[in-house]
Amino acid sequence: MHFPGKGKKDRTLLKSQKKKNSSPRTRRGKLVSAGYLLPSALGVLLFFVLPFMIVIFYSVVDNPISMQFVFFDNFVSVFRNNAFKQAARNTMTFSLVAVPLAVVLSLMLAMMLESKIPFRSQFRTFFLSPMMVPIASVVLIWQVLFHYNGMMNEVLALFQKDKIDWLNSSFAQVVIVVLFLWKNLGYNMILFMSALSSIPKDILEVAVLESATPFQIFWHIKLRYMSSTILFVTIMSLINSFKVFREIYLLKGDYPYDTMYMLQHFMNNTFSRLDYQKMSAAAIMMAVVMVIIIGILFLTENYFGKDVEG
């Protein structure tokens, strides 16, 4: 249906709104808000955008001294580098194992602590305590536990098992996964507990009245309501899984046993040997992979959580 008069009125309204928008008062308001935004904008440019640009620049020059443009040569050379391949493989394996475990186990813990079990708050404190211990002390404890003459091997000896060189063998990554879980489960668990408590109680009650099984309630209601938290926990765990370098570095230095050698080792070592071009190319490849993974996670969350989001 056509209303010619209304159209004219709309246009007049738009015009007056435009006039209103460009009034001196509004302009002043915008300038003031721009002034407030400027420090943050400068900060972001200076500390995020510009360094990233520099990284991109370094990734396409031959070295930081002569700076000859070499296009994608650094990416090709890094991609062919055995140490990079080893680091990428280890980092991927570690993240593929540790991140799902960190999500699933912390979710299970959160579910368990949500139910009415005795010593709930003590358990919660217990799982959170690793977060409060400084990482240098954690590593020291881990060294004592998993040293060749450490406690774990003494336990094995009780069962007449041979000693395992935990930190210098294929078991090294197991140690790191356990360390990662020990350090991160508590934090993830708290996030899940808060997500669980924010699920509308009426929906859960209706589900119970409708004779839904606990599994159905978990799968169809709780999981869906927690999808954004799961995504957040997964992304945080993924980011933390890349940070596990810190623990490995404190345990074994710049060149650990090959199963513990991560991408961050590669980048750190290439930096200290002035191979900025290699480091930058590796960092960009890693960033691209991260963006793809996080993109997929967002899409998944959108798909599963769309019907519960306002």
């Binding site: 400068l42 001294i65 210098n168 650990p256």
Partner: protein, 754 residues
């Protein structure tokens, strides 16, 4: 609006980029900054004749030196007190009533304007053979007038110490109340009042590095604690040491403290001079010694005047002459008052003493350029972090113009393009490379380009009797192991411990285990395992307490077969052959190409940064090190120089002087050849006569055989091997298991760098 936003974004980005670039550009080779101030040295004419200066102290603005003179005719020494009024610029010699058998052990100025001296008086008896039979010493504390040098009071100090006969007073100090503080060599502090009545004794676990009064009148000591050097007050109320002073971060440096005039202390960390304020716990840098054209290695005492100027006593040692002492006054001036020169930066982890001297000489004489030094590793707690910073700076606009190549990874710098080829510069300056030792230049060459120069060098090698190993100048690891395998570990090397032997076998030969072309390493191979097993035969720690014959006696009787040592002069070669008692073979460190005689730079080694903005200026300084004049200055008339010059004619001149005999006239007026000098090591001592042609030829042969530079193994590899071989040496793992882990970890290193 959209357009405006875009413009705003572009403007912000451009501003940020400009800010960054401006920051990066700061410090590049431009005109020296004219803002701020500089300290300009003024050398004081000292009207004093003495053989040496025993101790120095300041009373207000007067500097006192205890001078000692030796009378050749009477064979007696005499002491005097030289007083110099720094404000008036007047000096006078005051008599000091010290006996022949007395010396000043320490001297300090007091709050009442006098001097306190610890005087050591000794006496002894001699038997008919001239041997000392009864030695007796005592210590006295003298109060000396700063006006005329007269002794106002002397007191016996023996009552203060438990064992005065065997106590050595290390430091003496006085506080504002007149109390006297004495520290002994046994980490004890003894505090007494003016009447020598004991106030307290404080015993420390750690060594007392120094003791100084502050401007406020309290006494502080420096000692090494858990986190490096600590500054702590001697607290007479609690009769204990106070807590470490906050704000003082000494690290593991060489800080020397003096009483301050403007702030609590004047602090000299051997690179710069600062003032430290106890009330705020802050340190303020005044100047760097090198910026004031003073070699900090020669500064023996320093102080601050009431007007804020700084004085220093320097003592310059030279190989051929007596030490010369100078009193320097450093005047603070506005930077614009001094002539402006183009700034050239010399970057180093630490600066070699010879380079310091060369920089000072260059800065004093060159009218266009001035070298400033950026020292990264001096006194830092985290050496690795300092090295990382040094490396990082090489890639930025902060890159020094001249890079010291001592203790850095030379090959890495070359492969990353950090260094400039020096041959074109040599050619441009008319310096003919044929005038220099070919093998020395070649050691710093890559693909026919020269990346480093050095003024002098010496050669490190493994020594053995030629009768035992034959006339060789190199051996492989396998040959070395074959020679030493079935020998008693005690008889292989002197002072041989497990780690030193392992280090000896591996680190100068690491490329034998790494094939960089294929990117493979072989640390789990038979050779490496055999080396580990060989090293395991040696004791973990060498037992220095065990009774043994002297070194030379053991070498001569084949109780020691090998010795690693450096040959720094023909005279050292003469001493070594004397020690061995027969012809010596210089085998070098085990090396797959039998080229283990290694070149060690003596007096610094440097390269020109390819990022330098002022390469010509940098080269102007660098070429001094290889100039004919400088190279000839390294030639020692008496042959006791440390290292050989790299210029052929200078080296030949040195050899010629080494072969020229010294003579003396005997009682009958006959010319008799005399010893040039005396060299000794452990039980061995010999007079060095003029070298024979054969001896000089042997040294030439040794120099010619050296083709590689020592000490360029990456610390990372050393750490991995040391860490992972430990369980094998402790018997926790087999050699194969340990070698497999080393192989695994180093393979990652090789992969990364292939």
């Amino acid at each position: 609006m959209k357009k405006n936003k875009k413009l705003l974004t572009i403007a912000i980005t451009a501003f940020s980029a400009m800010t960054m670039l401006w920051g990066c550009g700061k410090g590049s080779g431009s005109e020296e900054e004219t803002s701020g101030y500089v300290y300009v040295p003024e050398y004081v004419e000292m009207d004093v004749e003495c053989n040496y200066i025993n101790s120095v102290a300041a009373v207000g603005d007067d500097v006192f030196m205890n001078t000692v003179s030796w009378n050749e005719e009477t064979g007696e020494s005499s002491n005097a007190l030289y007083k110099y009024d720094m404000l008036e610029g007047k000096g006078e010699v005051l008599p000091l009533a010290l006996d022949e058998n007395s010396n000043v052990n320490g001297m300090v100025g007091t709050a009442d304007g006098n001097l306190l001296m610890v005087v050591n008086i000794y006496s002894y008896e001699q038997d008919e053979n001239g041997e000392i039979t009864d030695y007796h010493s005592e210590m006295e504390l003298w109060k000396v007038s700063a006006e005329d040098g007269s002794v106002a009071e002397s007191k016996d100090l023996s009552g203060i110490f438990d064992d005065p006969e065997n106590t050595y007073v290390q430091n003496i100090c006085a506080d504002g109340q007149g109390n006297i503080y004495l520290s002994d060599g046994d980490n004890g502090i003894h505090v007494v009042d003016q009447g020598l009545n004991k106030i307290c004794d404080i015993k420390l676990e750690n060594w007392i590095r120094s003791m100084t009064a502050s401007k406020e009148g309290d006494v502080y000591i420096t000692t090494y604690g858990e986190n490096g050097l600590e500054l702590r007050k001697v607290d007479l109320t609690t009769k204990k040491l106070g807590e470490p002073v906050e704000g003082f971060n000494g690290g593991y440096g060489n800080q020397e403290f003096s009483v301050g005039a403007t702030k609590s202390f004047l602090v000299d960390d051997s690179s710069k001079v600062s003032v430290f304020d106890l009330s705020t716990g802050t340190e303020e840098e005044l100047f760097k010694w090198l910026d004031a054209d003073i070699n900090s290695d020669s500064v023996t005492q320093r102080g601050e005047l009431s007007d804020g100027r700084v004085w220093a006593v320097t003592r310059d040692y030279s190989a051929d002459g007596p030490a010369s002492v100078e009193l320097v006054l450093l005047n603070r001036k506005d930077a614009s008052e001094v002539p402006q020169k183009e700034k050239i930066t010399y970057g180093a982890m630490w600066v070699d003493s010879n380079v310091k001297k060369a920089i000072i000489d260059f800065n004093k004489t060159n009218e266009k350029y001035r070298i400033t030094v950026k020292e990264y590793g001096n006194g830092v707690e985290d050496y690795q972090a300092a090295l990382t910073q040094f490396n990082a700076d090489l890639t930025t606009a902060n890159c020094p113009d001249i890079i010291s190549l001592s203790n850095v990874d030379f090959h890495m710098y070359v492969s990353k393009g950090v260094l400039e080829d020096l041959y074109p510069y040599m050619e441009k300056s008319g310096i003919n490379k044929e005038d220099y030792l070919e093998n020395i230049l070649k050691a710093y060459e890559e693909d026919g380009k020269l990346y480093g120069i050095l003024s002098g060098f010496y050669v490190s090698s493994t020594l053995a009797k030629e009768s035992k190993v034959g006339d060789k100048t190199g051996w492989t690891l396998e040959e070395m192991l074959e020679f030493a395998q079935d020998k008693d570990p005690e008889s292989v090397f002197p002072y041989g411990s497990r780690s030193s032997i392992f280090y000896y076998c591996i680190y100068n030969n690491i490329d034998e285990f790494i094939d960089w072309e294929s990117g493979k390493c072989s640390f789990n191979g038979e050779d490496f395992i055999k080396t580990m097993e060989f090293a395991a035969k040696f004791p973990e720690e060498y037992d220095y307490q065990k009774e043994r014959e002297g070194l030379s006696a053991r070498i001569r009787s084949d109780k020691i077969l090998l010795m690693d040592n450096s040959i720094t002069s023909v005279q050292e070669y003469q001493m070594i052959t004397g020690m061995f008692g027969e012809k010596v073979a210089f085998l070098g460190y085990p090396n797959s190409e039998r080229k283990g005689n290694l070149i060690q730079p003596a007096g610094g080694c440097m390269g020109l940064a390819s990022k330098s903005k002022n390469k010509d200026g940098a080269w102007e300084f660098m070429q001094v090190m290889i100039s004919e004049e400088y190279q000839n200055s390294l030639v020692s008339e008496h042959g006791n120089s440390y290292g050989f010059p790299i210029r052929k004619d200078a080296l030949e001149k040195q050899f010629e002087l080494d072969m020229t005999p010294d003579y003396y006239e005997d009682g009958d007026g006959n010319k008799v050849e005399s010893a040039k000098t005396t060299w000794g090591w452990d039980d061995f001592q010999m007079e060095i006569m003029a070298a024979t042609q054969e001896e000089v030829d042997a040294v030439k042969k040794l120099i010619d055989s050296a083709e590689k530079v020592a000490g360029s193994v990456d610390e990372q590899l050393v750490n991995i091997i040391t860490e992972e071989s430990e369980p094998f040496f402790k018997g926790q793992k087999s050699a194969k298991e340990a070698a497999d882990i080393i192989q695994n970890r180093i393979q990652t290193y090789v992969n990364e760098n292939s």
